[in-house]
Amino acid sequence: MAADIVFDALRTALGPTAAAYALLAIGLNIHFGFTGLLNFGQAGFMLVGAYGVAITVSTFGGPLWLGVLVGMLAAVVLALILGVPTLRLRADYLAITTIAAAEILRLLVRSTAAEPITGGVFGLRQFGGDFFALNPLPDGRTYFGALAASPNRAWVMLVGWSLVALMTLLVWALIRSPWGRVIRSIREDEDAARSLGKNVFSYKMQSLVLGGVIGSLGGALFALSLQTVQPDTFLPQVTFFAFAILILGGTASTGGPIVGAIIFWFLIGSLQSGLRRFSDADMLPEFFGAQAVGAVTLTFVGVLLMALMIFRPQGILGDKKELQLDVS
């Protein structure tokens, strides 16, 4: 049974969901790790990315590339709307506004009024045809050995992790550029950056937009891998999963989100698979149903967040010197 659990966990850790969350965490790393912006609404950026694809393709019959583009543009607009009132204020105002905005978006897309476009509580489906038509992998066999991915899943994994690698490379290059030095100096001391003549507000806004767009790509990937979008996928806890991934991997380290996503989902996968298999084998008390498994998983995420922040705030790859963040 132990081997089964490890394989289940590996399948989760390297699956499309982990890749989508890695993208969310890369976006958050730009916001929180490098600029010091406390974005608690990454679920909202993910939502506009996912619904951008779903609405364009499923509701209006447009092509896939347009859907991804619409999602990215919506993320830019969302970042501007959020940034204008809050980026001049303290970091915690941004936190509250972003979590509120993400909830507003979720309630709007699930409302009856929006149902003709977003499908309301039912969500949308059947928008991945174009994406899977591009799949070059031949049918009828499984991929990645013991991970036993179907051709479609293998295709999403390939695209997803390539996207993650590409974005990581982009962040790596950006952080070493003059632009990266400015946003890190804003994180360290906003007034110092301002006194050097840098337009702090504008740099913060650029960071918010960039991280948001990367988050929306994570949303698009998530929607394509599940072949369905539903509003209640984008609960606030999604953002905190991404935060746990970022902090676990190492805030303000370029590779942190990848390491964090793989290890986080390995832990979650083994926990869920273990509980499920023990439950199937009647080794757990009877009340341990699906809801209890979910509750245990989320409690674990909470404990993980607390323990990391108390005992190892720099995570696995992080540098403690990069973490003198504070509300300023």
């Binding site: 009132p85 509250i96 909830e103 699930r110 009856t112 309301g120 409690t299 909470g302 922040m309």
Partner: protein, 421 residues
């Protein structure tokens, strides 16, 4: 094979057959949800009705037959959301009240529940508008008072420590569920159960200050790190409650199912009047405590300027501990009141947290009176919005207020300008 073992085999087979019959026989008496759609006396056919769990997980979709009848089998007892798809209604037939497109239905064990969608002409009219305005204003004050009670603690904790406590909403849930435990599971009357719950929540809240936050403050942990820790704590509290109590909404044993009285244009339940009266008393009490007593003055002094307060001889750590204890007690009261006028569920506090944030920022982060004023406004805005817009969006309007106030007056109605940095 001997005779005896053959007999044994037969017995085993009979048992196996009975065993396999068991679940099938049970399935026939299991839970379901259904109903009949009728417009002007005739059944309405071909309408899609979907059933989902409270968390939005779909169970199934049924289409009404020629008689207008539909039914969906359910996996277990619990509360379900039943949604009618208006797009599939035939021409000329509408929901009488468009807001009642999604119904929340409680299904008890082994029973089949009925979901009723009223079809026909929409109800409109000037008199009804006034009546709905009055009713929603009343509801808004009711919720605003509860938000205010819970938000004072949030605001004072921020004022004294700089921490935005994301676990504050889950203290509300904790208080409500502790009262539920003593009321429904232990069997006490709600009043002693509530008192025990308030004391326990206050002790828990003080305990996390002494056991978690104070050591972290002493270590010089940054505020953002503490904020993330409070999110982790919120996850733990919320999902431990989910683990033990499940996700369904539960009522208390006492003061439920009261008949509503008609007071002028407003429908009022006696329990609501008690809740509102007690809330006002408690809020006035807190305000007097903050202005008249030594401890209250200390709280305001620390919230105003911590260093100055410390250098003038106030024991800052003791004041902070008292703020956590008082905040914990107030959240428990708020949670129990909310449970009395609605029901308790593991997400009630988190939903309230966003409204508390809106109220606290609207009134001015760090101020106690601002939190009261802002929360009342937020409660009113969200409830009155249901007169003009869909009730599914009432949280949207409340949070919209939050964003607008940040644009226009970021320090809030009663806040001081330098606080926002």
């Amino acid at each position: 094979m001997t005779r005896v073992s053959r007999l044994g085999l037969l017995v085993l087979l009979v048992f196996a057959a009975l065993g396999s019959l068991g679940p099938a026989a049970l399935a026939q008496t299991s839970e379901s949800i259904g109903g009949r759609l009728v417009a002007e006396g005739d059944g309405v056919a071909g309408v899609d009705i979907s059933v989902a769990t409270e968390d939005g997980e779909p169970i199934g979709v049924a289409t009404t037959d020629d008689d207008g009848e539909w039914s969906v089998d359910l996996p277990e007892e619990g509360t379900y959301l039943v949604t009618l798809d208006p797009a599939t209604l035939p021409e000329g037939v509408e929901l009488r009240n468009p807001e009642r497109q999604e119904l929340e239905i409680r299904v008890s064990e082994g029973s089949s529940a009925t979901a009723l969608f009223a079809l026909g002409e929409r109800e409109e009219g000037g008199n009804i508008l006034l009546q709905r305005l009055a009713q929603s204003t009343y509801n808004g004050v009711k919720f605003g008072l509860i938000i205010a009670m819970t938000a004072i603690g949030l605001s004072l904790i921020f004022g004294t420590t700089g921490l935005i406590n994301f676990a504050h909403g889950d203290l509300v849930t904790l208080g409500a569920f502790l009262a539920y435990t003593f009321n429904v599971i232990v069997g006490l009357h709600l009043i002693p159960a509530a008192l025990i719950a308030i004391v326990l929540t206050a002790a828990f809240s003080g305990g996390i200050d002494a056991g978690l936050w104070r050591p972290l403050r002493r270590r010089g942990t940054g505020l953002i790190a503490m904020l993330v820790i409070s999110i982790g704590l919120a996850f733990v509290i919320r999902h431990v409650i989910l683990f033990f109590f499940g996700g369904s909404r539960r009522p208390y044993n006492d003061y439920t199912l009261q008949l509503a009285m008609q007071v002028g244009p407003i429908r009022v339940q006696p329990v609501e009047l008690w809740v509102m009266g007690l809330s006002v008393l408690i809020l006035v009490g807190v305000a007097l405590m903050l202005t008249r007593t030594r401890l209250g003055k200390g709280m305001r002094a620390v919230a105003d300027n911590r260093d100055l307060a410390e250098s003038s001889g106030i024991d800052v750590q003791r004041v902070i501990l008292s703020v956590w204890i008082m905040g914990g007690a107030l959240t428990a009261v708020g949670g129990i009141f909310l449970g009395m006028i609605e029901s308790v569920d593991y997400l009630m506090g988190f939903r309230l947290l966003l409204l508390m944030f809106a109220g606290v920022i609207l009134g001015g982060l760090g101020t106690a009176y601002g939190a009261m004023l802002g929360s009342l406004i937020v409660g009113l805005v969200s409830e009155v919005s249901t007169v003009f817009f869909s009730s599914q969006l009432k949280l949207v309007w409340a949070l919209g207020v939050l964003i607008i106030i940040l644009l226009v007056r970021p320090q809030g109605l009663l806040g001081q300008k330098e606080r926002i940095g």
